[in-house]
């Protein structure tokens, strides 16, 4: 165990100290920050005022939406079908429909649009609705609290003293805003919030690149040990399996370090850009409705706090929207599929490295390993369009493609059973490829000057160690 730790340490330190690691660490965040900043810039640029019709069956929100430079909210007091006709016949941008729910407080709304409604608009709507619901809930809770405490309640007692943690927890609400695109022929097609989609796709592309980048590093590391002829010196001290696992785990840590640094630097760059050009990220009027962190606050405080935050800390809705994604689940899934996918492929890359004498010879073995990876990234678009189709299901279950595909499916909601099955199979797949790779590796590393065929590899699997 101590030896495998030594190997991990060496593999980690030699790579982290390399200049190329430093270069990647600096370049990566610049690219990633650009990925975040450019769409924000584009999304906040709107030239003309757009009209949003509002049909509110609940009556809670109809006057809560305030007009701003970009959007004008027009209340309609018709039924949904008439409103849709109005939307289609007029030049209005979108129709917000808040259906009446009998039992609970409203928690969902539908946004009909002929185009793609901007993220700003959507996050503004959800923000307003969330705040309104929370205000209502809070009022109700306070009333209850007053009744519970003392029938002879004196009104000079401040409301704030009544608010407890429990109440704050109780009033927390979320709004699901579904976007429906009304097409030319009047057909309705459901479109999902493209942001979570983008985050899913981004995650899957990251996994794809990391598997390739760091898998190839594992392979090159093995080839380096073979060509420098140090391998036999080392396997006289440690078991080949320990060496292989040490290398795979050490490089995994390099990958995680790099990823962590990227996230930190990207956040730093985005923050710097945000404060350097606040006007680009500021949505003129909408802040007064809600500000980050205000959702948990009682109404009385919110008003005061809002003015303060609006003045000091200009926020913008795209980051709000980014915050609104279920990050816990996304990050958890990302880390799991990232590590699982890497481990699965890294073992195969190690086996390839052990079977050849130089990197030039790797081609014939690389193909079957890279095909499932490339295939899954090619299928990404299809999966986005049919996240629940049978092909998407199977691609997200089979371990060779699941790390990339599952990340795309997660924002669309994946049954917990599918997720568990996929995760279980990925772990099993990792154990399987490691077992397979270890058998090829222990023979391959001692083999020189011989072109190895697939038949030969198959034979190695059955050698006794």
């Amino acid at each position: 165990m101590q030896k495998i730790f030594l190997i991990i340490k060496r593999e980690y330190l030699t790579r982290v100290k390399k200049r190329s690691f430093l270069v990647m660490t600096i370049l990566g965040p610049l690219l990633m920050a650009a990925l975040f900043i450019v769409p924000v810039y584009l999304a906040t640029r709107t030239d003309e005022e757009k009209v949003v019709d509002v049909v509110d069956e609940t009556g809670w929100f109809i006057h809560k939406f305030e007009n701003n430079d970009n959007y004008k909210f027009v209340p309609l007091y018709t039924d949904l079908e008439t409103a849709k006709e109005t939307l289609k016949s007029s030049k209005d941008h979108a129709l917000l429909y808040i259906p009446l729910t009998q039992v609970t407080v409203p928690s969902s709304a539908i946004l009909y649009s002929d185009g793609q409604p901007s993220i700003n608009l959507k996050s503004y709507i959800t923000g307003v609705m969330t705040r309104e619901i929370e205000n209502q809930k809070l009022a109700a809770e306070i009333k209850k609290e007053i009744q519970r405490r003392n029938p002879g309640y004196k009104s000079n007692e401040s409301e704030e003293t009544l608010i407890s943690e429990t109440i704050l927890k109780n009033i927390k609400s979320t709004i699901t805003l579904t976007t429906i695109k009304i097409e030319e022929g009047g057909k309705e097609a459901k479109s999902y919030t493209e942001l979570s989609m983008a985050v899913g796709l981004f995650g899957s592309i990251m996994i794809y690149f990391f598997i390739f980048m760091f898998g190839a590093q594992v392979m090159r590391g093995v080839i380096e040990e073979k060509t420098s002829r140090i391998i036999e010196v080392i396997v006289s001290s440690v078991k080949p399996f320990q060496l292989m696992m040490g290398k795979i785990l050490g490089i995994a840590l390099v990958g995680l370090t790099q990823f962590l640094l990227w996230v930190l630097f990207t956040a730093a760059i985005v923050t710097v850009v945000q404060s350097a050009f606040p006007e680009k990220f500021k949505q003129n009027n909408t802040e007064q409705g809600f500000a980050p962190g205000s959702q948990m606050m009682p109404a009385t405080q919110t008003e005061k706090k809002d003015q303060a935050t609006a003045a000091e800390n200009p926020s913008n809705e795209i980051f709000e929207a980014i915050h609104s994604i279920n990050y816990g689940a996304m990050i958890g899934a990302f880390i799991f599929f990232f590590i699982g996918g890497y481990l699965l492929y890294a073992a195969l890359f190690a086996a390839i490295g052990s079977a050849v004498d130089s990197e030039a010879d790797t081609q014939q073995f690389m193909l079957p390993v890279t095909i499932p990876l490339i295939f899954s990234i090619v299928m990404a678009q299809y999966v986005i369009n049919n996240p629940d189709g049978p092909l998407s299901f199977w691609l997200s279950i089979i371990p060779l493609t699941s790390p990339v595909i599952m990340m795309i499916r997660i924002p669309f909601g994946v049954p917990i059973g599918d997720l568990a099955l996929s995760a279980g199979l990925l772990i099993a797949g990792f154990l399987g490829t490691t077992w397979l790779a270890a058998r090829i590796y222990r023979t391959g590393i001692l083999m020189y000057g011989k072109k190895v065929s697939y038949r030969e590899l198959a034979k190695w699997l059955f050698y006794r160690s």
Binding site: K3, L6, E224, S228, R229, I230, E232, V233
Partner: protein
Amino acid sequence: MSIITVNSVTKHYANHTALDKVSIDVPEQSIFGLLGPNGAGKTTLIRIVNQIIGPDEGEIMFMGEKLRQEHVSLIGYLPEERGLYKKMNVGEQALYLAQLKGVPRHEATKRLKVWFEKFEIQSWWNRKVEELSKGMQQKVQFIVTVIHEPRLLIFDEPFSGFDPINVNLLKEEIFEIRKNGGTVIFSTHNMASVEELCDHIALINRSRKILDGSVKAIKNTYKANLFEVEYVSVPDDLAGFLPPGFTLENTSHNEGLSNARIKLPVGASPNVLLGCLMPHLTIHAMNEIIPSMNEIFITTVNGENPEVSENL
């Protein structure tokens, strides 16, 4: 007391047998030569002793115990295919390899300093291996092989690729190791070094051991009772002076002196030969012809597989 005993070890590969019931016994504090033509199975045997691969049958005893993974810290191995991480610093790399053999870091640092001083290479500590000359790399390679002060050292073709200065250095160290109680196994084709260094040998050919024992004993078995006599040339034929049972193998003449090779019958004393020749000849010298390891090697291997004899 033997440090390592290989007991009837067999190893098969997909389409051939690398070792066929090979048994050897390496006495402690000796230098043991593992000889054999290419492809005989020497490296396979060495890898099995180093636990890089496992035997199909048979067992190996190390210092009286069954060979286990923990024993790797008591064995040093210089493989035939050897090298170092090219992009790593010399000192850092030596420390790493020492730690892999179970030497604690501070202890390894201390020992390395001693070795680096001994070989006068202190200034290379922070240099990358790829910056060193081949000879320098070999010195580093040797140090990392012995840094954990192993009880048993295994050198596979140690002299191949070493320059003459390093070969001498290596030989001195091998004697030094034996003096300090260590045991050395080395596999080689270089018969001159076998004569010079080895106390014991085992000869492996075509996956089987065909000869083993102490070098002296083997030579004694292989000597043919052949004597060479140097004398002032005479016109007569030497054969006429020999007693019955003695045969003249050949004679050669060179500037007034002649050489004759005479085979003695079993049990006969060279004094009898001298007694017969002295009345007729002026004898300059007489000595027994002892076969070299090289000759023994070739005779034995050829006896086994005559069809390869042309190649040797």
